[in-house]
Subunit: 141 residues, 2 copies
Amino acid sequence: MTATTATQRTAVATAGYDAFMAICPSQKLLDRISGKWVALILAALGSGPDCAGDPRPMRYSELSRLLAGISQKMLTQTLRSLERDGLVSRTVTPTVPVTVSYELTDLGLSLHQMMRGLKAWAETHMDEVFVNRATYENTTA
Amino acid sequence: MTATTATQRTAVATAGYDAFMAICPSQKLLDRISGKWVALILAALGSGPDCAGDPRPMRYSELSRLLAGISQKMLTQTLRSLERDGLVSRTVTPTVPVTVSYELTDLGLSLHQMMRGLKAWAETHMDEVFVNRATYENTTA
DNA sequence: TGCGTTACGCACTTTCAGGTGCCTACTTCC
DNA sequence: GGAAGTAGGCACCTGAAAGTGCGTAACGCA
């Protein structure tokens, strides 16, 4: 007997889907990289300050200057979370005032490679998206 | 004369960086795909309901059933924004109650291809990220 | 005749990522 | 001796994304 209502069936399906969403790797990856500053930090550490060189370690203050506009809080917070996930490594050098440098790990480097694919798509197709968006808004409004 | 303080220099740099961030294609792309339901809808339309087939149009109610857990509001809202950006096309068929079907455009299809790269990275590397995260938290706490 | 389905619209509310401002301890330069 | 740099910590606040709940118009079915 199919004595379940559509509402009940939906509720069951919802529970299962929630569980799936909670572990879905793609979703998790998007959460991870969609932070406002994550991509910029990865790009800086992965391509140097000019965004066109090779990966190299950078100091906290250097990142802070390069990513002008980021607050100290957000820089610290984002770097911490990236370190926690094994994407960057933190190195403290006990100099006059302590200097701290951050560098991409192998994992972070591989992520950076993937981000370059994303960047390539963005640079070739986002213009088209914007045109569509503008057209749509002129057509409907 | 360098009569500017570090604070002033930072303010100027911040303004320039804000302008850059406002147009950076990669950043815009991330904004576009990082919505909670965007990736799921693209995956559904791009790989069929079983997430392993070919792209095919789907009806509103079909998507709603497949992506159990999404509210009707969010489904409509997300589909509209994707349509606005030229990533999906909306087709209304005036049947008994009107039926509406959504399909990936060429642009949406190309985005879906890129997302598969992202998915591949996620499936091979996210486990490592989670391990690092767990280790980090056990080490510090 | 009253309930279900289809594809939404609208208003209200919650949530949290991100921003702002203020604090630190140490040191060095002017 | 006051300003500035270095690498942050802490508390509060806001705006936008997402969730919740209710209404719709047309029809079909029992």
